[in-house]
Symmetry: C2
Subunit: 362 residues, 2 copies
């Protein structure tokens, strides 16, 4: 069976062309959502969609769709491919754009090849994925999926004081379609890896099978702020030392397990934070992640048990505040297997992977 191939130079050329739009005085790529630069990027994408003969649709939150509707498929739910074209400050040219432009490339290639799909295939570019100018991030897809109503999203005030709704109107991308008007049969997003695994292992592709569950907690440990010089080691209630024991516990537990569990203490504060005073308080965050909900719960429980014994051993008071909690998501096995099969057929080295939300809960 002969294989249809995309036009790699066309795809790379478009990535370069889109990546040249929105450069600041220092040459950094900055196309914040609904900005003038975003408008130029959108105009570029829309021109390619129209040149490819796709149906253009823009919904009220500014999500852009290019829909290929082969004869006789209009009543069928489409396959949706896509990502986003807004950027962070000083972005790379592939983040988001690769997913949108590869989707367009695939559709154009299939269309030109005479392939007759059984359902429409559409490319989507979702508004404000990055959330730099307007919170929350992943806003366009959130509204699309019904997680946030369009009115609320459009009334969001940006970091520059602007309203998203006003800005979308100003740049000409306040569409008239109702968000979610297109209900896909399936959704696939191609994205560059934002972790180190594929590069370190020398692999071309990752078939993402699930999304990490996330547990964020803030731990506060309270001891006694005694003098570093006059307080014998045995008489100390050292909140700093107790917090260090939590860090090493989490690390050793995660390293000893043969699971994808990751545990991170990213924020740390000592009080009074003086060189000659035993810390009376340590406040730190614990970020636990696992693609399996049962295991994530067990990790949370293990931490809770450790904190309880630590409190007794170190004679410190410990309180825990939950900051965020997201259950893992398992992707459709048929799609994951299809990606693996396609990679194998082209001899592209591929492994299954766990993904994290494109950006983090705040």
């Amino acid at each position: 069976m002969s294989k249809t191939s995309i036009d790699a130079s066309r795809l790379l050329g478009r990535l370069a062309e889109l990546g040249a739009i929105g450069r600041d005085a220092d040459g950094r790529l900055v196309r914040l959502a609904a900005s003038d630069a975003d408008k130029l990027g959108r105009d570029c994408l829309v021109a390619w969609i129209e040149a490819a003969g796709l149906e253009l649709a823009i919904d009220r939150i500014g999500n852009i769709f290019g829909i290929w509707v082969p004869d006789g498929t209009r009543d069928r739910a489409p396959l949706l491919l896509g990502s986003h074209i807004d950027t962070v400050i000083d972005a790379g040219i592939y983040d988001g754009c690769y997913g949108v432009l590869s989707a367009l490339e695939v559709i154009e290639t299939l269309k030109a090849s005479g392939f007759a799909p059984s359902r429409p295939i559409a490319v989507a570019a979702f508004t404000n994925e990055e959330g730099v100018r307007y919170a929350p991030d992943m806003m366009g897809s959130l509204v699309y999926a019904g997680g946030l109503d369009a009115e609320t999203a459009l009334a969001t005030t940006g970091t520059d004081g602007s309203l998203l709704g006003d800005e979308l109107k100003r740049i000409g991308y306040a569409g008239d379609r109702k968000p979610g008007f297109l209900t896909p049969h399936a959704y696939i997003e191609l994205h560059i890896e934002q972790g180190p695994v594929l590069e370190r292992e020398g692999l071309s592709l990752g078939a993402v099978e699930n999304l990490q569950g996330i547990s964020w907690q803030r731990v506060t440990i309270e001891g006694d702020a005694n003098h570093a010089g006059t307080t014998p080691m045995t008489m100390r209630r050292d909140a700093g030392h107790a917090s260090a024991r939590v860090i090493t516990f989490l690390r050793e537990r995660a390293m000893a397990s043969n699971t994808p569990t990751v545990a991170t203490v990213g924020c740390m504060e000592f009080q009074p934070n003086a060189i000659n005073v035993i810390p009376s308080k340590a406040i730190f965050t614990v970020d636990l992640r696992d693609p399996d909900e049962d295991r994530l719960r067990e990790e949370e429980a293990a931490l809770a048990r450790f904190l309880e014994s630590l409190s007794a051993e170190e004679q410190v008071a410990i309180s825990v505040q939950r900051l965020a909690r997201f259950e893992p998501v398992k992707f459709d096995e048929r799609i994951v297997a299809t990606i693996e099969t396609a990679a194998r057929a082209r001899a592209l080295p591929c492994r299954r992977m766990t993904s994290v939300p494109a950006t983090m809960p705040r």
Copy 2:
């Protein structure tokens, strides 16, 4: 042998009287060096010195001396007793004042008892021990001992912009004696304990046999600021985790040793200090103390060895900056033994202790 006793109610009365001078609007005791409140406290002390029939002497840095010169002892080096009467903000009434007023009490008692010492006995109140208004602390005794020349000390600008020399003149305590004019045969200072040991052990007295050596270092650990979600545990260079290992190492080592070594990590900073980012940098202080110089050096060396192996194990860069280093001081064994003997004779429970500098190097 009958025992001479001080007049406890006179001593406690004077402590209360001096402790009432310098109360702020909130009732807090505040007699910063060379302030109006300090002048009132000094006037009170001088009146008691004169009423006791002692020779009053004030040196150029404002140190106050009350000298009892029994007949035939003028050529002999005096026994010097004392402390300070300046305070921190919101001080207790005993810190410093107890040493000065108990010295005066002892001299008055001995004088009245007909005791004929073989040398003069003097009480001293040293200027600016606390260092709150003028740095460095322990200034009056430092100048007295020749560690700092009087001109430099008098030219010190305070936190309020004033010059110490001007302020001493203004309050009438810029004396004419050359600092160090009185070379003592021995010096003894009574002070309330600033640690928890005596109270916890139910003891009345500590016979201080030495002064801790102090080693202050700042340690900086540098790793990689990777994403908490996408970086497997085995691929991390986590500066925060490495810093936690230093804290637990120091604690476990100090607890395992049967020595008075104390080790404290009082300051800690993570960078970038974000919940979902592995710390790329941890900056913390290490406060090591030991009354024995060889042991203090061994503790420093053990830390250096640990940091070296940690750097290799955790794949992090570690640098160390020395902030302060003071060698331990061993007090005269004859005086320590005399204090112990006197306590035993009065059935006062007493133990040998290590002291720390009244305030810390900055």
